[in-house]
């Protein structure tokens, strides 16, 4: 059923992507999430698709990951069910270093840098720099992202949050969604 459901999507995408001249095409000398053999990158790109789960207080969340820009970037949409807003993050490589640009609804935009991890099942990003955040960083902002890849269908995402002078973890337990995962579908217009 999973395969059957994805076939029409794949055919539609293939027709739309029949090569036509012009525009920017991937340059082989640049790093690619799709091509990299690094463990942390392989883990990250395995997220592509839909996820659902619970926030620490029990609220439902939905996430969507998609490899874009010829496999050189991965976008993440996070939505808390029952709220009107979504949050947007883009993951990419700067040379061999993983980066994340988080567009926070605090109104700050935080760039985070991948850190080496002793645990091959973990990918950790830490604060690198930000816009709309004072140099002393006393305002509320996101500080880190720690992704723990439990197995191919289970993920724990910990979003570090600096709030009123303290840093707090926010643990989300997530399960992959297969049936009904449509993601971005432009076929209706």
């Amino acid at each position: 059923m999973r395969r059957l459901g994805l076939v029409p999507l794949a055919i539609g995408a293939a027709l739309w992507l029949l090569p036509i001249a012009g525009g920017a095409q991937y340059l082989r000398q640049n790093p690619s999430l799709r091509e990299s053999t690094a463990t942390d990158v392989k883990n990250l790109r395995s997220l592509a698709g839909c996820w659902k789960g619970r926030a620490p207080t029990g609220g439902d969340v939905r996430l969507f990951y998609q490899l874009v820009s010829d496999g050189t970037a991965m976008i993440e949409y996070l939505r808390s069910v029952g709220t009107a807003t979504s949050q947007f993050t883009v993951y990419y490589l700067d040379g061999e270093t993983l980066m994340a640009h988080h567009f926070c609804y605090y109104g700050s935009q935080v760039r985070m840098k991948g850190e080496p991890s002793a645990d091959p099942k973990q990918v950790l990003f830490k604060f690198h720099d930000a816009t709309n955040l004072a140099a002393d960083r006393h305002e509320n902002h996101m500080t880190y992202i720690k992704l723990t890849f439990v197995d191919p269908d289970h993920l724990v995402a910990d979003w570090g949050n600096f709030d009123r002078g303290k840093e707090y973890p926010s643990l989300f337990t997530l399960t992959r969604v297969v049936e009904g995962c449509k993601g971005l579908d432009f076929s209706t217009w």
Binding site: W16, L17, L18, P19, I20, A21, G22, A24, Q25, Y26, L27, N30, S32, K52, A55, T57, G59, R62, V68, S69, T72, A73, I75, Y77, S80, V81, T83, T85, S86, Q87, F88, V90, Y92, L93, D94, G95, H101, F103, C104, Y105, Y106, G107, S108, Q109, T131, N132, E139, N140, W159, N161, D163, R164, K166, P169, V177, G180, K182, G183, L184, W189
Partner: protein, 189 residues
């Protein structure tokens, strides 16, 4: 009891960006597209929705724009038939409009808005980048310029440095009203 109260307070604080009602989410000191004062930001915010048109080679192209992260970022998704989709994120750094373009070249370009004498034109020029080692020899995006012709028609020129030469790719776009569904919202259960 005190510990319990502190724990609940900590959890509430840490989850602020994920679970608060939309109206209360915006960090008031930070800039947003919600009530933009700058005409350029107002113009950009007006893009929210779906657009279709053709690229310079006559290839069908479709774009969506969505305000995310409590309207502090405008996410652009661009598809040109025969090419891979790309994302860009427009946001404000204080009073300055910025865009982070995740290019299929494999470079990620940040561009900054320049003052424009024409209120119908918003132009971004190269600010910095990851994975561009040489601005002379590496192909990369250099600028993006929007001309807001009327509420339903825009022209976008993407500046490109290719084979050591600069040129612009011009897109003429029309707003799509019927059937426009920006499916950044959750479509799975």
């Amino acid at each position: 009891m005190r510990r319990l109260a502190l724990t609940l307070l900590a959890i509430g604080g840490a989850l602020g960006p994920f679970l608060s009602p939309a109206a209360a989410q915006e960090f008031p000191g930070n800039p947003s597209f919600k009530n933009p004062i700058l005409p350029a930001a107002k113009n950009l915010a007006s893009l929210a929705g779906c657009w279709v048109g053709k690229n310079p080679w006559g290839t069908p192209s479709r774009l969506t724009y969505e305000l995310a992260s409590d309207s502090t970022v405008l996410v652009e998704y661009i598809e040109q038939q025969g090419q891979v989709p790309m994302y860009s994120a427009y946001y404000l750094d204080g009073d300055t409009l910025m865009v982070h373009h995740f290019c299929s070249y494999g470079s990620q370009i940040r561009m900054k808005a320049e003052p424009s004498p024409d209120p119908k034109v918003v132009r971004f020029a190269y600010f910095d980048a990851t994975n561009v080692k040489s601005r002379e020899s590496d192909d990369h995006m250099t600028s993006v310029q929007f001309t807001f012709l009327d509420p339903d028609h825009i022209e976008v020129v993407w500046g490109l440095h290719q084979n050591r030469k600069d040129h612009g790719d011009r897109f003429a776009l029309t707003r799509v009203v019927e059937g426009c569904e920006v499916r950044r919202t959750v479509v799975w259960h």
